[in-house]
């Protein structure tokens, strides 16, 4: 195969696929990409046993065909070239990249096929990009980021509700859920569990495709596909069931505080400066709620202590609750309104952080028990 392209456009098209490419589950010894050229359209595919990211870009094609390139090396080479035309040619297990007076001959990786598992096809549902991006940002943060515990905890649940969909994630210490009204995911089968890791990739792809208004989403019983602009992300699904989270949602709260979001974030960031040494790592921040303010404090075994008072509108009994400062910050930062509401029951039951106005997002957080 043979084509000519602009350095900048191929550099951009490589980003997603290179991130997905691993040598896991393939017979290639190094992470590799598949390049497919057909009628002036180049498709770049990077894959992992659980994730496939592909992008399309228009090129000047001279000879259609397929080739395999070493992912990182190919990306590094085209990135390092000067701006302008890049010629790529594959010939007998060798890839030639030329640009200006530079010429690279790269050996083609040896191996079999890349994993391309997608079963999900056809028409999916159309999800509004902006709302999906915002919701992912609010929900993915509560999922488990490693695979040290139940795999369901490292997934985001997409569930159908009466008037839309609900996205839910929990690492068992906190739980975030978001209701999106007015959209539906067509096949109304079981709940869909999408790995949080893939959704983080999806967030990056959305960021690079902000002009696209909608994302096409389809799924089968084993995998799901997101199509956005020239990019496509396919992921294996995680087997359910998702933990029974509904029983965790408290019916009512006795106490709540309304706090201005940005100043509150600044206070927590200042206070948590004291949690510095590794010995201090498990020290929580304590929130003391009283009628006109919240006192935020920390006391660590190694570094010292700090306290700051922030104005708040509080209704309820004077209470103290302690939280992991990072989990707390994650929740507060996820709120997209000027004021946040913290609902509390007592020092051992989950608290909820919500926006003041629209109640479509909730972040449940378990306290740190002090004994």
């Amino acid at each position: 195969m043979k084509f000519t392209t602009e350095r900048d456009s191929i550099v951009e098209a490589l980003n997603g696929p290179v991130r997905a490419a691993t040598s896991k589950g393939t017979s290639y010894n190094i992470p590799s990409l598949k390049l497919k050229l057909k009628n002036n359209n180049l498709e770049i595919i990077g894959s992992d046993p659980d994730l496939v990211i592909s992008t399309r870009t228009d090129v000047h094609g001279e000879q259609d065909g397929d080739m395999i390139v070493p992912a990182k090396l190919f990306q590094d080479i085209v990135r390092a070239l000067d701006q302008g035309a890049v010629h790529v040619l594959s010939n007998d297990e060798e890839i030639t990249i030329t640009s200006g007076k530079a010429e690279f001959k790269v050996r083609e990786p040896v191996g079999g096929e890349l994993t391309l598992f997608t079963k999900a096809t056809g028409d999916g549902s159309l999800l509004p990009t902006k709302i999906l991006a915002e919701s992912l940002n609010q929900v993915v943060r509560a999922a488990l980021t490693d695979n040290s515990r139940a795999p369901q905890l490292s997934a985001v649940l997409f569930a159908t509700t009466e008037d839309g969909i609900r996205m839910v994630a929990t690492d068992s210490y906190r739980l975030a859920y978001k209701d999106i009204k007015g959209i539906s995911i067509k096949e109304d089968t079981e709940d869909v569990l999408i790995p949080a890791k893939t959704l983080e990739e999806l967030q990056k792809i959305i960021l690079a495709n902000q002009n696209e208004k909608e994302i096409n989403f389809s799924y089968s019983d084993t995998d799901a596909v997101f199509n956005i602009g020239d990019s496509k992300l396919a992921t294996r699904l995680i087997k359910g069931p998702f933990p029974d989270y509904q029983r965790l949602l408290p019916n009512s709260y006795e106490n709540y505080a309304i706090i201005e979001k940005e100043p509150f974030i600044n206070v927590i960031n200042r206070i948590k400066l004291l949690i510095r040494d590794s010995k201090d790592a498990s020290s929580p921040v304590k929130l003391n709620f009283s009628s006109s303010h919240v006192e935020v404090s920390v006391s660590t075994p190694e570094s010292g202590s700090a306290v700051e008072i922030i104005e708040a509108e509080y209704s309820g009994e004077e209470t103290q609750v302690a939280f992991n400062p990072n989990y707390l910050l994650d929740g507060v930062k996820a709120i997209n309104s000027e004021n946040i509401v913290i609902n509390i029951i007592d020092s051992s039951k989950p608290a909820t952080i919500e926006p003041e106005d629209e109640k479509d997002y909730h972040y449940l957080l378990m306290p740190v028990r002090i004994s």
Partner: protein, 397 residues
């Protein structure tokens, strides 16, 4: 109780110089500072045969042994070996009190579960130090620091009629042997008894510790003043401090096992790893060390070693939590080759007693957490009372 262990490296500085320059091996090596007017810091046994001793002026050493190879002190080099020395000790117990670059006391009372009886611990330290630093040492074990130090000295190679005689490098003085052992020593062997005191005692016919014991407290106080009199009186009776004060914080705690027959298959590996993790967990729990990192080491039959580790933001608070983390690290290992060795190590310690702060889970009812904690407490209690093997976690198939 014979749980204080004293390790003393044999002619440490000179031995390090010989390791760095093997052509010196077998020669009388003297390490000392300040040219001819300086003093000997360390001398190889080949030099000691000629009567060279530490703290002897260099000129005198050269008189005793004109052929001595005189080398300057390279303290940074010895510090490096000191680090290796301490890292070996550190694996045995967190309770290590270094007294000099080449000397340390260990409280091994908590190490028996992992490494066996006191003598076995002594031998392990000797072997590990030798295989990992190439240096030899002497080890004394007894009920307090005084006796342990005298024992390590007694375990040093001896110079008998111009030849170096090696003795067993590990000497344990049990409580039954204490008195006899101590009585034989000359009074000069006791710490804090200098030449003047030795002379005074000698004038009244006191040469050995056995002789010293005949003197009453009031006689000693009258002769040497209250402080020294009292201290000599108790030392002569083998009474001394057993308190080992670690001035270094523990960095990690681990246990590994080499198998006589290579392990095959994941089930077998998990079983072994669980046992190691359980031991390490309960040792750290007993020492009230909360840890945030765990690493697993697996050595295959071709000696290839892989290590996996995990650090979490909050400490591991239950054995089950540790176990699932460890399992996640090994389950996707390629086990085509047999496993020769595996190990579990925890680090990233957080101070404070267990349970001080606990991030609660949305899915655990509070009563479950209490039940699990109570189970661990009981397990720890049984292990302490009846030994590590007395109770353990089972496997549900």
């Amino acid at each position: 109780m014979t749980d204080v262990l004293h390790v003393d490296m044999n002619s440490f500085f000179a031995s390090v110089e010989i390791l760095d320059n093997p052509s010196l091996r077998g020669l009388p090596v003297v390490v000392g500072g300040g040219g001819k007017r300086g003093v000997v810091c360390s001398a190889s046994y080949e030099a000691r045969v000629f009567g060279v001793r530490a703290a002897m002026p260099i000129y005198k050493a050269l008189q005793c042994c004109p052929k001595a190879v005189l080398l300057p002190v390279r303290i940074s080099r010895y510090r490096l070996y000191n680090k290796r020395f301490l890292s070996v000790l550190d694996r045995v117990t967190p309770f290590v009190e270094p007294v000099a670059l080449d000397e340390a006391y260990l409280d091994i009372s908590h190490a028996h579960t992992l490494f066996g009886d006191s003598l076995a611990i002594g031998r392990k330290i000797y072997e590990d130090l030798f295989s990992e630093t190439g240096l030899t040492c002497s080890i004394g074990i007894s009920q307090n620091k005084l006796l342990a130090k005298l024992a390590s000295k007694a375990a040093k190679p001896k110079i008998l009629s111009g030849r170096v005689e090696n003795t067993d490098p590990v000497l344990l003085i049990s409580s039954a042997e204490e008195e006899l052992f101590l009585d034989r020593h000359s009074v000069a062997a006791l710490p804090g008894i200098g030449r003047k005191t030795v002379e005074k005692l000698s004038q009244i016919g006191v040469k050995t510790v056995a002789d010293l014991k005949i003197l009453s407290l009031s006689t000693l106080v009258a002769k040497f003043g209250t402080a020294q009199g009292k201290s000599v009186f108790v030392m002569a009776r083998g009474i001394g401090s057993a308190e080992v004060v670690p001035n270094q914080e523990r960095k990690s705690l681990g246990k590994e096992e080499t198998f006589a027959i290579d392990l095959v298959g994941i089930a077998e590996l998990l079983r072994q790893i669980d046992m190691l993790a359980e031991e390490v967990y309960f040792v750290s729990k007993r020492a009230e060390l909360l840890f945030r990192c765990v690493s697993v080491k697996v050595k295959f039959s071709n000696f290839e070693v892989i290590t996996r580790s995990k650090t979490q933001e909050t400490p591991f608070l239950s054995f089950l939590e540790l176990k699932s983390a460890v399992h996640a690290m090994v389950t996707n290992l390629d086990l085509k080759l047999g496993v020769r060795l595996c190990g579990v190590q925890v680090s990233g310690f957080v101070v404070g007693p267990h349970d001080k702060y606990r991030q609660t889970s949305l899915f655990d009812a509070e009563s479950d957490v209490h039940a699990k904690d109570a189970l661990e407490e009981v397990t720890l209690g049984v292990k302490e009372k009846f030994g590590n093997q007395a109770i353990g976690y089972g496997i549900v198939r």
